[in-house]
């Protein structure tokens, strides 16, 4: 009855009913441990989870306070495209449309933290769901930090190969809405300017930037939070 989840729930309840108002300090871990009749570690676990959820803020010596304007934290699962398609009950396929070495435009090089003029791979892939265009993927790939030789990307999707080869790297993701450019319109089979959901991801390994990818999703695509 006084596990850490019960304590988290009780603390949350007190915050909800304004027992502990927004912006106010709450009792110390020790005081709560005494009140709930449990060890301090248990209270600590509960409060740590609430801090991670953005409900409270914790500082050493200062204590724990209820945040004034809670920032909702949304968590998204970003699976490999094949799994995403299969999760919709459709059959995944893909076609490698282009692959060549080239010097990326300056903004791309900068964003990847590479010297201007370095040659990268450029790949264009179209992912299909039940044979219909699903995502148009364009990608800059830094061959210098990847295991050699590279596989045949016409047979293995870059998207999936990278995940298994360059596991668990850091990176950032951005979402935006953009009108389809000429190429995207042609490849996805839509009119130019149509609203597309665009995902841009940068991925890093310890020894340098790995890849920058742009995914333009066919109309109707949605991203949804888990939970």
């Amino acid at each position: 009855m006084n596990g850490w989840e019960a304590i988290r729930a009780e603390v949350l309840r007190r915050i909800r009913v304004r027992d502990w108002p927004l912006g106010a300090m709450i009792p110390s871990e020790e005081a709560l441990a005494v009140e709930f009749g449990c060890a301090r570690a248990t209270v600590n676990r509960a409060l740590r989870e609430l801090a991670q959820a953005g409900v409270v803020e914790r500082k050493r010596r200062a204590g724990t306070r209820v945040v004034r304007l809670p920032v909702r934290k949304a968590t998204l699962d970003i699976p490999v495209i094949r799994l995403e398609v299969e999760a919709r009950g459709q059959v995944h396929g893909f076609r490698l449309l282009a692959m060549r070495e080239a010097v990326p435009p300056v903004p791309v090089a900068l964003r990847l933290g590479l010297a201007v003029g370095v040659r990268l791979w450029w790949l264009e892939t179209l992912h299909l769901a039940d044979g219909r265009p699903f995502v148009h993927e364009t990608r800059w790939l830094n061959g210098a930090v990847l295991p050699q030789p590279l596989p045949d990307f016409a047979a293995v999707s870059v998207n999936e190969w990278l995940v298994t080869q360059v596991s668990y790297a850091a990176g950032d993701i951005a979402f935006s809405a953009e009108g389809a450019n000429a190429r995207e319109a042609e490849v996805l089979g839509v009119a130019g300017g149509v609203a597309l959901f665009v995902t841009e991801r940068t991925t890093w390994a310890q020894d340098g930037a790995i890849t920058l990818v742009r995914l333009a999703h066919a109309p109707g695509y949605k991203v949804q939070t888990v939970v």
Copy 2:
């Protein structure tokens, strides 16, 4: 040197270098505790974090295994719109364009889990950044579960009032790209059909659905992960 973060890093390293291949089991907490010369609780903490990050899967009795196709977890901060604007160094403003009671369309009622025919508030707000249109917000609001009386939403943004009143409720968020409809085009000052980034959120309290909101962001808007 053998804190839980060090252990997490070491485990991650071994997974990266394929010391422990994808899909393979890793040693038990107890074995690792012996190897690293620390308590099992410390290993537990490290592995728990990795499980939360989607790097390993843990099951009682079965043990811990490296995930085969890691699912990237992206975490987004969804702040109050005012803070979002101010974070860009701009001045936030808003105008309440409309507010009336109405019976929502059936899909809306269903999504909120309400009986068809229930009357809700409908609000239309335009948020401004430095005086220019930033977000067009349309919202269904369930007055039945809110503290009464409602404030003057021309003076206090619904967006912000709800956060402070109905704290920490459950909900889901969806992102998509849509062409601007006639009203959005007019209010945001863009051409019809222009690609807009759209956020749709449903929010629940214990005693029922609170609100369903659609935010259509002016062109150029991006959502970015927080590391």
